[in-house]
Symmetry: C2
Subunit: 131 residues, 2 copies
């Protein structure tokens, strides 16, 4: 896993890739609309071409237009993003990060969500005893 998957992207490239990861897939027009401080359509297209050429995204044809998708799965991208976040902001501690998510003002978890998370913890405990 190269670090350049994160650091190797220019600002616009990142913005576009973020949009694609949050939406799963999108047309050029949708991406343009979602871009902060949106440039011309041409500019967006050019970026998409570059991203594709670099191997970060691919496209499918949907009739007259293209649908763009990330080439690396959301799962994998997630994992590297989390890892990067851990080392940058949490001294590598997943526990602290998880706590910040539950505790943090950014989130209000429902009791259902708390239950789910509880289940994940219990599962982790169980797996631990099987070592």
């Amino acid at each position: 896993m190269t670090d350049s998957s994160v650091t190797g992207l220019s600002r616009r490239e990142r913005q576009i890739l973020d949009i694609l990861y949050s939406r799963g897939k999108a047309t050029a027009a949708e991406i343009l609309a979602a871009l902060p401080d949106p440039p011309s359509y041409s500019a967006a297209r050019a970026l998409l071409r570059i991203l594709e050429q670099k191997g970060h995204i691919r496209h499918e044809s949907d009739g007259p237009r293209y649908i763009f998708l990330p080439k690396v799965s959301r799962q994998k991208a997630r994992a590297s993003a989390l890892k990067h976040m851990l080392t940058t902001f949490f001294d590598g501690s997943a526990a602290e990060a998880a706590a910040a998510l539950v505790d943090g003002s950014a989130a209000k978890l429902s009791s259902e969500e708390l239950d789910q998370l509880q289940a994940v913890i219990d599962k982790a405990r169980k797996e631990k005893s099987n070592d």
Copy 2:
């Protein structure tokens, strides 16, 4: 909270800010050493000057050299980074993100850490009942 705090940085600027957030503070030489594909010392210095001018970092004097620090607290930077990560990779769900942290291959949590996290969840439940 402007989005540009994230998207408004160039590649090198981000790399440097990440280093500063992960270490808390650093000298120019340390930052240079930590940079991926490190440029010249002069180049690193120039970036630091720009970041300072843009208001992202500041410096203190430690004898003959400067110590650079982020201007926005780690806490706040954390919060925006988490938020951004949630919307990009977890459909805004903090619960899913927390689960990924506990469950994910990126992390092996100790039972102590699991206990801590458990406590945070219990606390959240309790606060919920006080609504």
